[in-house]
Amino acid sequence: MRKVKIHITLKEGVLDPQGKAVQNSLRSLEYDNVNEVRVGKYMEVMMEDTADIEKQIDRMCDQLLANPVIEDYSYTIEEVV
């Protein structure tokens, strides 16, 4: 069994209104050194290992988990015993 940890983030240059609001809140809490906040998504997918697991995860991300027009993704695969 594998645990796939997937991070999905908005592409650079794509405006992130939610991140902006969080950033402003951090500023109002007086974290003056915060320059930018980008809000993304984190997912954990448990799946059986296959020879082409990376290809499969790429496809999952392109087809559904991320929207390639506005989002980038990265992931790590961990072995679960």
Binding site: V14, L15, P17, Q18, A21, L64, V69
Partner: protein, 227 residues
Amino acid sequence: MKFAVVVFPGSNCDRDMYFAAKDALGEEADLVWYQEADLSDYDAILLPGGFSYGDYLRSGAIAATSQVTEQIRAAAEAGKPILGVCNGFQVLLETGLLPGAMLSNVNQKFMCHYETLIVENNETMFTSHYEKKEKISIPIAHGDGNYYCDEETYQTLLENDQIAFTYENNPNGSVGDIAGITNEAGNVLGMMPHPERAVEKLIGNEDGLRLFQSILTHWRNNHAINA
């Protein structure tokens, strides 16, 4: 003319859409549940607003993976009119039938009020009953209506006259003030404002009705040619 209104779990403007086609326009219409839908006998497909699958993951993303999507894709290739409003627009973006993607409104608020739209292209099968550059008043109701595409895509939209409607006062941050776009062939229209909520004077205005009348006119003209 026969309209199909595709109902997803979480659609909530399906009855408004049905009313617009059936009662306001006076044509045949059916509400079809997305899992049992057979769209082959319909002349036009309407994708209603709402929150399909609770907007999980991204607005419209889960609905775009359902089997009815393949039928919608086939209907689009066959040249049938397909109108996606609000969540319906988001579904069309997620299926890739229209270019671009939706981000949350720049002010992070759900907005529900009338907006003035400018008819940018009145030569589509959805807009022939409007004047070019005509200003119409149509309600919006969305939280994720901030249309995004890269500069190259935006230029393509401009070159191909794919921008059907823009906002006079951009409420949500959309690229190029875009309120509605068509595909390159011109038979798929996605728009965030709700024309189906503006089809009767009694409940506001009739500015949206002409969109449905345009679809009917196009169908009748085609039908007359084929008959």
